[in-house]
Structures are given as structure tokens and as C-alpha cells.
Symmetry: C2
Subunit: 248 residues, 2 copies
DNA sequence: CCGCCTCCTTGAACGCGTTCAACTAGTGAC
DNA sequence: GTCACTAGTTGAACGCGTTCAAGGAGGCGG
């Protein structure tokens, strides 16, 4: 079985997994390898979509892609590593979905609400097996963990969305809080995702209610951050965060 | 699955985990079965402790217990189900560890802090492979999920600890908040556990700092709950919680 | 042209969790 | 006593993710 070449594969796509900086080997061979890599990844994601994650076997992916099962392991350390591609894709979808809103709307609450809803919507089609993905992501040692270094780029991209939410808004935010806010909002977003994964209500209505209910509270809280009376409390909270992040 | 035949003889779905209340079968046999069950569970937990979860195979458990591998599956639906026993055990340890403090101390912050630290301490010896357990627990469909119905007894027991923390304290708490507080504290406890699982600092110092830093804030927040100005905000928060819990 | 190095590919094999048809033996009904 | 019933037990077998020794095949120095 000869590997089938994909019609239009981007040869300069940066490799999301461990990309060994090969020195002076043949360029043509590398290109073919990259094609195989993309072929396997795309086939895997398609099958995940069609059948779900656990129901898709590595053998099925290999067969469908027309390669040997061992070949998939040449490009991806494990079945879980294939999920990273899924994350990257959804990240892009999320970003694109909020872009129009963030370009026009200036109200902080509206921006935040929009970002959260867009994020949920981007993931909606995959809710049924997002739980399985989540299971992998939950393991701290897993490269799929949102806190892992392997996920750093995706995490930074997600935080960037919330930075945009904050900085593009007309909200008056305490400057000390302003710096920490994007990451805090991202953390809240992780919480929403966690809730969403567990949410078995039809159309995940409860998650939407959670967002709609929590956003005004967050908005209020952020506004209050500038009150002089609350300064000490805010300082205390920020100090705690910094203290907890200290890595020793 | 269970042995074949007799769908009519035993109309009630037999509980896979907890001791099944079989109606009129032989008592001696049931007793022997219960012994086998305990033997398998204890052997499994011992091996988990000695070698870690993933490194312990079902075959090893069966061999060490002197039974066939299929026998373990007669009593436990899966390898993961064996973990529930671990949870129950730790629950008891946690409870016992806080009991002396809760019997004497009356200050809310001190009680809460004690409960959290005791909980972390009870889990400390298992931190290295708690991550693996956590991976299983994180899957919403898993019976090990802290939100699953299978975990209800353990969850209720855990919430009871925090109810004790609240009710045995001399803190003046808004009555509306008082009712919801134990569950909220339990939820925070889940957050602490989540943080702890991810905490790779030596001796999980960061988790301890998190507790020590967060408890005063919670204490302050609880005290403020009685202020008239904050009533509307409190109401809003409680309403959100209720709204989100609504299951439709 | 020839080796040779390296990237790429192969599929059998391994150990795992899990299943299942078959078997054993204690129990209750007659 | 006997016999049907069934909780309890067995271990081979299945399909899975993963590994690995072996084998191409393109490019480069000679």
C-alpha cells in the first residue's frame, strides 16, 4: 500500500508536535513525510468526528489513511497526541467567531459574554465526546493538559482572546487588576468548559445560563475594583495569586 | 456483565458496586462472596499503594488475591471501580483527622483552614498517582466522578464535614447563605483538590499557600454577607447557583 | 556507478483491560 | 435423597494501544 498524497497540503506548516530540526537531509523526503503526517492527522480527526474518540481505533485510522499502524506512531507519540490537532483547530474557530464582535462592541460585559458563548458554540458539535478528550486533558502529566508546556501556544492564544476582550473594552479597570485580568478570565473560561463538559442538559442550556448569570457579576466585580475601600481586598487577592504561582 | 439468564427472577437492576441486597438466596454463599469481594478490593488497594495504579494490572491483582481475573470482574465492573474503595477510605481518614479540631475550635476561619489542611494531608501519601485516579474521575460519565450518583454517599459525607465546619462555628452568617454554604465550601474543596493534583511543588507547598491565603478571604466574604448593601449581590449569586442547578 | 546514511514505512508481536461460555458447588423445594 | 437453580468461579480469547526489529528508498560523497 502506497501512501496517498493529499491534494493540497501546506508544506511549510509548523509541526505542532515534537519537530526534530533535521539538518541537511533531503528536502523532498521531508516534504513527503509531512504529507503523510497531515494525511494521518486529518484522517484521525475525521474519524473522531464521525465515530467518536474511543470508537476510533489506531488500526482504523491507519487503514483509512492507507498506511501501516506503526507509521502513525512515527509521527504521533500516542493516540492522545492526535487530539492536540483538534485543539488547535477549535482555537482558530473560536478566535474567528469572536472577531467581528470584538471589532465593534465596546461594552466589557457584552464582549466577555460574546467570547464565552462563541467558545461554547465552537465546541458544541463535539460535546458528546469532548468528555473523552477531557479525560485525557485532565491528567496533569498529559501533554494535553491545558496547563502543560505542550499546550503553551494554544493557551497563550486563548489568553490573548481575553486580553483582547479587556483591552478593547471601554471598561475602567484598576491597572493592577488589568494586567492579571486576561489570565483570570481564561481561568474562568476553563471553569466554564469544565462545567460544560459535565453539563448534560439539552443543548447545554445550563452552561449558557451560567454564562449569562456570571458575566454581569464579573462585570460588576471588575467595576468595583476601582473603589478605594476595596483596594486592600483586591491587593490581597492579587498577592495570593502571585504567591500561589510562585514555583518553589 | 452479569451472568446470563433470569431477567424475570431478579427484576430490580442489581447494584454493580455496593453490596447487592439479593432477596432470598443462600446466606452462607453470599457471605463467602462478600469475603472474596473484600479480598480482591484490599489486594487491589495494597498493590495500588505499592506500585501505583497504572502499573498494577488486573492479572496481578487476581494472581495476588489467588483468584481468576474474571472473578474480579464479577465483583467490580472495571478496574476504575476499584478506586471507589480508595475514596471511601480516604473520606473516613479525613473525617477522623478533623474531628478533634471541630470539637473544640469555634472560629470559622480556623475550622475551615483545619478541614482543608486535614483533607490535603489525608491524600498526601497518594499524590504521586492521585493524578491517575483523577484522570478517571474527570470523565463525567465515570462512576468515579465526584458529581456522579455513584459517588453520592461519599459526596454527601464530604459536604457534611463542611456543614459541620459552618454550623459548629460562631460565625454570623446570613441565613440564606448559611444553607448553601456547605456545598459551596465543598465545591471550593474540589477546586483545592484540583489545584493539588496539578501542584508539583515540593510537598505541595503551593496548595498549602493557596489554602492559607484563601481562607481569610472566604472568611471575610462570609462576614460581609450580612451587610445590607451586599444583600442584592448575594441574592444574585444564590439565584444564579439555583438557576444553574435547575435540570432542564 | 557504488555504497552508505538517514528518513520513512512495515506488520507481527506484546501486554493490557475486558468478555464470555462453560463449569462448580451450595441451597431450597419436593 | 434428589434435582433444578443459580451465585460464584474459571481461563482462554478478543480487540485495543503501543513497540520494535527489519526492511525499503531517496540523496550524497566517493
Amino acid at each position: 500500500m502506497r501512501p496517498v498524497t493529499t491534494p493540497a497540503a501546506d508544506p511549510e506548516k509548523p509541526e505542532p508536535d515534537a519537530a526534530p530540526p533535521r539538518s541537511r537531509a533531503g528536502a523532498a523526503r521531508r516534504e513527503r513525510g509531512e504529507q503523510t503526517r497531515q494525511l494521518i492527522l486529518e484522517t484521525a480527526l475525521r474519524l473522531f468526528r464521525e465515530r467518536g474518540y474511543t470508537e476510533t481505533t489506531m488500526r482504523a485510522i491507519a487503514k483509512e489513511a492507507g498506511v501501516a499502524v506503526g507509521n502513525a506512531y512515527y509521527y504521533f507519540d500516542s493516540k492522545e497526541h492526535l487530539i492536540q490537532g483538534f485543539y488547535d483547530r477549535n482555537q482558530v474557530v473560536h478566535r474567528a467567531a469572536v472577531a467581528p464582535l470584538l471589532a465593534t462592541e465596546r461594552d466589557f460585559a457584552a464582549r466577555l459574554r460574546g467570547a464565552l458563548h462563541a467558545g461554547i458554540e465552537a465546541n458544541q458539535p463535539y460535546h458528546s465526546f469532548a468528555a473523552t478528550f477531557f479525560k485525557s486533558a485532565a491528567e496533569p502529566t498529559s501533554p494535553l493538559s491545558p496547563f502543560s508546556s505542550a499546550s503553551s501556544p494554544a493557551r497563550e492564544a486563548a489568553i490573548a482572546i481575553f486580553r483582547d476582550v479587556v483591552e478593547g473594552s471601554d471598561a475602567k479597570v484598576d491597572p493592577e487588576l488589568r494586567a492579571a485580568l486576561p489570565e483570570l478570565l481564561w481561568l474562568s473560561w476553563m471553569g466554564v468548559i469544565l462545567f460544560w463538559v459535565y453539563d448534560s442538559s439539552p443543548d447545554q442550556r445550563r452552561t449558557k445560563r451560567l454564562i449569562d448569570g456570571a458575566v454581569p457579576l464579573v462585570d460588576r466585580l471588575v467595576s468595583l475594583s476601582r473603589l478605594r475601600v476595596l483596594r486592600p481586598a483586591l491587593r490581597q487577592v492579587l498577592a495570593l495569586i502571585k504567591d500561589v504561582q510562585r514555583d518553589d
